[in-house]
């Protein structure tokens, strides 16, 4: 019976999208999300169950669609940079960097060496933050609460480092078009060295708790198996692709920044299941530590310039703006009107902690991009769910969602 609307003016009428509840087969339709603690944001799944087994899964996205790509069309390039923070908010610097690199390619400039070193440091630090967060939430979903607490402990130390550098914990905006805004503060390098010396032991601790843990193995092994062909056809990238035995890392394939000078391995596993991917993430953190260790001496040898010199596009350093009239005028024009890149389009892909993060920019020579498109890795990893979940049990759903490392700010944008 319907309640008269007059009595409860604030109550909304429930509605169900195209769901038929009179069925003759034996399956049951259940709704998962969008507000589910294990949905990693606002994923909604419509699952059709036969007993406890899933026969059909339809991911429904768009609950966090904030219209970022449209916003970009009405913002000057520097103005859009903080918005990129809010895409993959777990590793914000990797988005800032992807966007800044795309604009730099469009402008045809290159950041000075010290800026590149600092950026690479921040990127790898963000990779560690993101992977620790992944392990924490994944373990929490599977039922290992203590891992969540341990991982967040170590993650907070990395966040402290980020905060020392740029002042923000989550939304960093630590990379600028053409370089970085600040040099590293005093003592930062020592703190970083201390942190990365400590971290391998902590990773060992997690592995000690999880590797041979019976429950962890039962819930992860042979769950969410992505064969290599499937990973390729669905457009997977990052750890999800490498977990299927395909050695593909953009840092190696098309090196950007300093990655061609650095010595690191790309861990790959053939097991294709969730457990293999868990080992892969652990290994990747170790590789990040290795990269950070090599960057510390490189930083000490570099020149102090941190912003590229391109007066047409990028403001001069602060001292020049304060002392020289021409720099001040340039700065004024760049702030009020924005830089005007040449006509053209670019697509730049970087390896974010989650996979291939690409920015496509179409510029018509104006201060605003004509079109900006983001290729977010999580989007492709969400679409795989409709094939991956079929045949699994309902309890495995949270394992698989957690394991794919999806972030909704990035999917819906």
């Amino acid at each position: 019976m319907k309640t008269p609307r007059r009595e409860y003016p604030n109550r909304l009428e429930p509605f169900f999208e195209n769901l038929v509840f009179d069925r003759d087969d034996n399956t049951m339709v259940i709704n998962f999300g969008p507000q589910h603690p294990s949905a990693h944001g606002q994923l909604r799944l419509i699952l059709e169950l036969d007993g406890e087994q899933i026969v059909k899964a339809v991911p429904d996205i768009g609950y966090l669609h904030r219209g970022m790509e449209k916003m970009a069309e009405n913002m000057i390039y520097n103005e859009f940079l903080p918005t990129t923070d809010r895409m993959d908010y777990i590793a914000a610097t990797s988005n800032n960097y992807g966007f800044a690199l795309a604009v730099e390619k469009l402008l045809g400039i290159e950041a000075p060496r010290r800026a590149q070193i600092i950026r690479t440091m921040l990127l790898e630090l963000n990779r560690i933050i993101s992977h620790l967060f992944w392990l924490a939430t994944h373990a929490l979903d599977v039922g290992a609460m203590s891992i969540f607490l341990y991982c967040f402990r170590e993650r907070e130390f990395a966040m402290d480092l980020m905060e020392d550098y740029c002042g923000a914990r989550l939304t960093h905006s630590a990379v600028r078009i053409g370089g970085v805004p600040l040099d590293l503060p005093d003592g930062w390098i020592e703190k970083l060295a201390h942190y990365i010396n400590k971290l391998p032991k902590d990773i060992e601790d997690y592995e000690g708790l999880l590797d041979q843990n019976r429950i962890w193995k039962m819930r992860l092994e042979d769950v969410g198996v992505i064969p290599p062909e499937m990973a390729e056809t669905w457009g997977c990238s990052g750890p999800t692709l490498r977990g299927s035995g395909i050695p593909w890392d953009i840092r190696k394939e098309e090196p950007y920044e300093l990655y061609d000078e650095l010595d690191f391995d790309v861990p790959v596993t053939d097991s294709c299941d969730s457990y293999g991917r868990y080992k892969l993430y652990m290994q990747e953190m170790r590789e990040s530590i290795k990269i950070l260790k090599q960057l510390i001496p490189m930083y000490k040898e570099s020149d102090p310039q941190i912003m590229a010199h391109a007066p047409q596009y990028i403001s001069a350093p602060k001292e020049d703006i304060m002392t020289q009239n021409y720099s001040l005028m340039q700065h004024f024009v760049l702030v009020t009107q924005g830089m005007r890149p040449p006509v053209g389009e670019v697509y730049v892909a970087t390896e974010s902690p989650k996979g291939e993060l690409g920015f496509y920019i179409n510029s018509q020579g104006g201060p605003y991009p004509y079109r900006l498109k983001v290729r977010a890795p999580s989007f492709w990893h969400t679409s795989i769910l409709q094939e991956l979940l079929v045949g699994h049990y309902i309890a495995d759903v949270v394992t698989i969602i957690g394991n794919l490392n999806i972030v909704f700010g990035e999917i819906d944008r």
Partner: protein, 169 residues
């Protein structure tokens, strides 16, 4: 962060022997605020961080629950979009009285930086809000401060009066 001290003796609370049932009830309520996990976007990460090891929300008696039926407090952490707006109202209606809402972050307060076709410009258009917490993303300490302010507010209220209907903006 602002120094904030809880003075149990003055803010209504601890003296158990000579007190009104009102006060002891509200004291108990304010110290066992169970929050509904309502992580929507970036702010949810800070909400999780405040529940985790360094910031330790359990000190305040705040435990995150996944079901609205077990929760007294809804912390709306993140951007509310128009597509999601229906669900937040439905979950709010499912919570048992008395219930409170903290709107965490600029997005939940006013729409924040996303003044677009897709976002709701403030959750207070859909559900009544008790505490507005500014910041993009607010730090975990500020979330805890907001909960402490809410506790203070609850201790001032009367336990047995029916809650006044709250206002939508």
């Amino acid at each position: 962060m602002a120094q904030h001290q809880v003075r149990y003796l003055q803010d209504g609370g601890l003296p158990v022997l000579l007190t009104t049932a009102d006060k002891i009830l509200q004291w108990g309520r304010s110290n066992s605020l169970w929050a509904l996990t309502y992580g929507l976007a970036c702010c949810a990460i800070e909400m999780m961080a405040s529940g985790a090891s360094r910031y330790d929300f359990d000190r305040f008696g705040t435990i995150f629950r996944a079901s609205p039926r077990q929760a007294d407090l809804m912390i709306v952490a993140g951007t509310l979009t128009k597509k999601h707006a229906e669900f937040i109202r439905r979950l709010y209606d499912q919570m048992a009285e008395p219930k409170w809402v903290i709107s965490m972050g600029s997005c939940a307060n006013t729409g924040g930086m996303f003044n677009t076709y897709a976002t709701v410009q403030g959750v207070d258009r859909v559900i009544p809000v008790d505490i507005y917490l500014p910041g993009c993303a607010p730090r975990p300490e500020t979330l805890q401060y907001a909960v402490m302010m809410l506790q203070k507010q609850i201790r001032r209220e009367s336990a047995f009066q029916k809650l006044k209907p709250k206002r939508l903006v």
